[in-house]
């Protein structure tokens, strides 16, 4: 009885048992790559924004001491002056040990004692209403401190440009993989229609409209892509969850801070894959039917 029911629910189009599993595999791989691109773009953007926010809330002041004072005295006087400026949370003179610690990874221990180091003041700004470089410079000038203020805007711009580039590349990779999936569906639809030419003629002569026939192909490939997309997304979600689990909130590397929300972000992948397949299959089928091929 069930066998008879199954028989009578058979799809109108014959199955392409040889090609469809391979097509599904290709789409699953493309969806996996698209998901990784999306996660990479979001994580890189998150890292860049974090760095830029950190840079925006800090400034560095290089102090040049007067003839009658040491560098440490000049830095301390500058820090005291800057601490009183509106929009500054904290200003601290950087001692030589701290400055050497920053340089040690780059130049090593051997030359550090002989190296003339600049006298620096690190300034932490109010993130909600940060003091501008102009107001810091004016305050220092009024206090008679010869100094240069660096608000890190140059470096911040580089970080933001790099983040924008990475995001653009990731979006391009996502679109290319979506295009690749669409091209695979177009090819499969054309091949399927060529192989099933007599079936299509029979359907047409029995009253099927072009839209109805195209609908059969779009349904078939949309369902196939949805299934393959679910597999690809599931693997990508497992990988993303693993990275989040292993790396914590900071990520396995600081450049890719993966969040749990990134895992959820991948859940629409089967729907997107199905939509791409649906549109590609329908347009291809209609073009082929109307072209009489």
């Amino acid at each position: 009885m069930i066998g008879r029911w199954m028989e009578r629910r058979a799809p109108i189009l014959p199955r392409d048992g040889g090609g469809e599993p391979w097509l599904a595999a290709v789409i699953a791989v493309l969806c996996f790559l698209a998901c990784l691109s999306a996660v990479g773009a979001v994580a890189a953007d998150r890292a860049a924004h974090g760095w830029a926010r950190q840079l925006r809330s800090e400034a560095t002041v290089q102090v040049r001491p007067r003839v009658d004072e040491t560098g440490a005295e000049a830095a301390a006087r500058a820090a005291q002056t800057l601490a009183g400026v509106t929009g500054v949370e904290e200003a601290e003179a950087m001692d030589r040990q701290t400055a050497e610690a920053l340089l040690r990874p780059w130049v090593g221990d051997a030359v550090l004692p002989d190296l003339p180091l600049p006298h620096l003041v690190t300034v932490r700004l109010d993130p909600d209403a940060p003091a501008s470089p102009v107001s810091l410079s004016r305050a220092l000038a009024e206090a008679g401190v010869d100094a240069t203020v660096d608000d890190h805007s140059l470096w911040r711009g580089e970080v933001e440009r790099s983040a924008a580039l990475i995001t653009a590349l990731a979006v391009a990779a996502f679109l290319l993989t979506a295009g690749g999936a669409g091209a695979a569906i177009v090819y499969a639809t054309q091949a399927g229609m060529a192989a099933q030419r007599t079936v299509i003629e029979t359907l047409s002569l029995n009253g099927a409209s072009d839209g109805r026939i195209a609908g059969l192909y779009q349904t078939r490939y949309a369902l196939l892509a949805a299934g393959a997309g679910a597999v690809g997304a599931a693997v990508a979600m497992a990988l993303t969850a693993g990275l989040r689990f292993l790396g914590g909130a900071d990520g396995v590397t600081p450049a890719l801070p993966v969040a749990w929300s990134d895992v959820l972000m991948l859940s629409p992948c089967p729907l997107v894959a199905a939509t791409v397949a649906l549109v590609a299959a329908r347009m291809t089928a209609l073009a082929r039917l109307r072209g009489g091929r």
Partner: protein, 236 residues
């Protein structure tokens, strides 16, 4: 029911099922297969189309199924000009026809049940509305016990009966059948002819292309004869 109607007669009625005027057909660069065919099939009429092999019977049917377009003349179906139809208009005409193809055109991946149900499924109607009709039709053509079998497992005669069941299951306004009894024995041929006659009594116009002159004569229907691509005459 003149085979060679005058032009005035052709334009008088809008209720005829088929009207051909000066219809010709030829493949590009090839000889004409049909020449100056004039034909009217009034609604509810029954005709045999006979003639030797190569006379153009199948080609004439393919023009009527709108699988091909005439290269000359005018073609009207169900009172409307069908010679220059857009693709989007074809399904509306074809759903009013039931066609039995000489090569059956059955779908091998579908069961006998699903093959007969195909034109009904394509209309989008719900299964409950037609499932009983399909079973009844399969019983009628003697395939009630083969519903779940696929065409490759059926004999030539069974395939032919299946093709006929699919053509008539929608109770179409026009049935076009190309050698519908060519693969069945005489008894089944007579039974199928009775099926066509039953549908004809209900108002369906029937045109059967057959080389079986004896069957045509025994049917009592009007017989149209094609020779060399021309309608040579009609015998009532």
């Amino acid at each position: 029911m003149p085979v060679q109607p005058r032009r005035a007669a052709l334009t008088d009625s809008a209720t005829d099922t088929v009207r051909l005027w000066g219809v010709g057909f030829g493949y590009a660069g090839g000889p004409s297969v049909l020449r100056d065919v004039n034909l009217i099939l009034t609604a509810g009429s029954f005709h045999f189309l006979t003639g030797p092999s190569g006379a153009g019977k199948s080609t004439l049917l393919s023009l009527l199924t709108l699988a091909r377009r005439p290269t000359a003349g005018s073609l009207e179906l169900f009172g409307e000009d069908a010679g220059g139809l857009s693709r989007s208009a074809l399904p509306g005409f074809r759903r009013r026809m039931g066609v039995v193809f000489q090569d059956f055109r059955l779908l091998d991946h579908l069961s006998a049940f699903d093959n007969v149900a195909l034109p009904l499924r394509l209309t989008g109607a719900k299964r409950e509305a037609w499932a009983a009709d399909v079973e009844e039709m399969l019983d009628w053509v003697g395939l009630g016990d083969r519903m779940d079998d696929r065409p490759p497992t059926l004999s030539g005669g069974e395939k032919q009966r299946l093709a006929i069941a699919r053509a008539v299951v929608t109770r179409p306004d026009l049935i076009l059948a190309d050698e519908p009894t060519g693969s069945v024995d005489a008894a089944m041929g007579e039974r199928l002819l009775k099926l066509f006659q039953s549908l004809n009594r209900l108002g369906t116009t029937v045109l059967i292309a057959s080389h079986d002159e004896a069957l045509a004569a025994a049917s009592g229907a009007s017989v149209l004869r094609l020779e060399g691509g021309r309608l040579a005459g009609e015998r009532a």
